[in-house]
């Protein structure tokens, strides 16, 4: 409970004594590059393969000819939109970006760079953390859209190349019974997950004390806590919004 209280006080501290708007714009653009552009490669690889594997494994489980083949791509689409794109990418995002945020802030803390900002009269939490959170909230939904597209594309490539489905069957399955709200739901989830991953990782890194060993521990803790928070939020959002 004490840690949760400290977390909310930390979040509140991001919005007091802020620097000028122009300062944040520059920092947010820098962070967007680090958070978004640098994560594209891993997102491309993972989402394409997950889509492909989902298509192949769904086809493998369809042993009866009573179910039309286009259902395979329908399942790939719905799994991708509802779960794979926002949630699996979030776990990868926590591992890459979350550990990076915690490690960076932890190193800044133990090497007194955070103290240096405080001595200058700069709100270090706001200056260092707010741009990271905003950049994650801006970039993560874009990564989820990319992941969703590539996952469905991966499924298409796998399903058609293995001869499980014809291209027209796959496209038909993608379009049939499409619920537009699922996309909205995926984007809502992505914003919530981005906030949780970035803020929890920043909180863990910002309050690191000790030496290099503790920075390593903070990075690990950031990933673990972020993943737990993401999966809990995933369940809650599914209950509330579906």
């Amino acid at each position: 409970m004490k840690i949760i209280g400290k977390y909310f006080i930390f979040l509140q501290s991001l919005f007091v004594k802020r620097e000028s708007f122009n300062t944040y714009i520059r920092l947010i653009i820098d962070e967007c590059t680090k958070v978004g552009i640098d994560s594209i490669f891993i997102v491309v690889i993972i989402s394409t393969f997950i889509g492909a594997v989902t298509a192949v494994q769904t086809a493998y489980n369809f042993v009866t000819p009573l179910i039309p083949r286009y259902v395979i791509s329908l399942i790939v689409r719905d799994m991708t939109l509802l779960e794979l794109a926002p949630t699996i990418t979030a776990i990868v995002f926590a591992g890459k970006v979350g550990s990076n945020i915690a490690g960076e802030l932890g190193t800044m803390r133990i090497s007194e760079q955070v103290d240096a900002l405080e001595v200058m009269g700069i709100n270090s939490s706001s200056f260092l953390v707010l741009p990271k959170i905003l950049a994650c909230i801006l970039m993560y939904p874009l990564l989820v859209i990319l992941a969703g597209f590539l996952s469905i594309l991966g499924g298409y490539i796998a399903a058609t190349l293995t001869g499980e489905m014809t291209p027209s069957e796959y496209i038909y399955g993608i379009r049939v019974d499409f619920i537009q709200y699922n996309v909205t739901f995926a984007l809502i989830k992505s914003v919530v997950f981005a906030f949780l991953i970035s803020s929890i990782s920043a909180f863990t890194g910002y309050y690191t004390s000790g030496g290099a060993l503790e920075v390593g521990r903070a990075s690990t803790k950031a990933v673990t806590s972020s993943c737990i928070a993401v999966l809990s939020a995933d369940y809650l959002l599914a209950q509330l919004l579906l």
Binding site: K17, S111, E112, Q113, D115, V119, M120, G121, I122
Partner: protein
């Protein structure tokens, strides 16, 4: 001038500072000395506001720092420059960006003027042609000088140095000591240096406060310190063979 009055500091149940009083005058190097773990850095952090004392006050030219309004604290903080033990340079910024950081954040100085000021300070500290170097490319002594440049670039009125000589060879340490002293006198800054280096004490200690187990046991100048009649201080001063030999020679 900076004045500390009745500073007490606890970490949970443990008291680490006991009723510390002292005056750090403008235009001179004020040294806080003592063995490791005596509370020197805690006192320094209380003075600069990184820690809040449980009792007592710190006055910056009669402005009560710990009881001031947020805007007054902000004003005082913007007059402070600090040289941290490890330099605390921002790893992602080069020398020019590190030194110019306080100007970027705290002033609205035009870009050209800013660059002139950065170059002036870097030249003053003997850091020529280092503008584009990253902190990882600098030696320990250079890092300290860059950190010192960052501390004074904004025409700071108060300069704090936490163990400025730690990790440096004796020659570089003396260079840093002299730079601190020269800058203090040249710009009439109130400088407070935390150190356990007796060389620094003898080189620049205009005013010396000796701390032992969280208490101030002695204060005076570096000329008085060798004859001070405090056992703990004598043990500290003559803890190395060089100082003992000097004492025996003078006797």
């Amino acid at each position: 001038m900076i004045e500390v009055k009745g500073i007490n500091k606890f970490f949970e149940e443990t008291q680490v500072l006991f009723d510390i009083n002292g005056k750090f005058k403008q235009g001179q190097a004020n040294l806080i000395i003592g063995s490791s773990g005596t509370g020197k850095t805690v006192l320094l952090k209380c003075i600069v506001g990184l820690l809040t004392p449980d009792e007592g006050s710190v006055f910056y030219n009669d402005r009560d720092f710990h009881n001031a309004s947020k805007s007054e604290i902000q004003d005082i903080r913007r007059e402070i420059g600090m040289l941290f033990q490890g330099g605390a340079l921002f790893d992602s910024k080069n020398v020019e960006q590190n030194v110019g950081f306080p100007l970027d954040m705290l002033t609205k100085m035009p870009r050209d003027e800013k660059l002139d000021r950065i170059n002036f300070v870097l030249n003053r500290l003997g850091l020529v042609n280092t503008n584009k170097k990253m902190p990882s490319e600098l030696s320990g002594g250079m890092k300290k000088r860059v950190a010192l440049a960052r501390a004074i670039v904004n025409n700071s009125k108060y300069l704090f140095c936490d163990e400025p000589n730690s990790g440096l060879d004796p020659q570089t340490a003396i260079v840093i000591d002299h730079l601190i002293q020269e800058i203090t006198e040249e710009y009439n800054i109130t400088t407070v240096v935390v150190t356990h280096d007796m060389n620094s004490v003898m080189e620049i200690g205009d005013y010396v406060m000796f701390m032992y187990k969280g208490q101030k046991l002695w204060e005076g100048s570096n000329t008085d310190i060798l004859d001070a009649d405090v056992k703990e201080l004598q043990d500290f001063v003559y803890s190395n063979k060089l100082m003992t030999a000097l004492k025996e020679q003078s006797a």
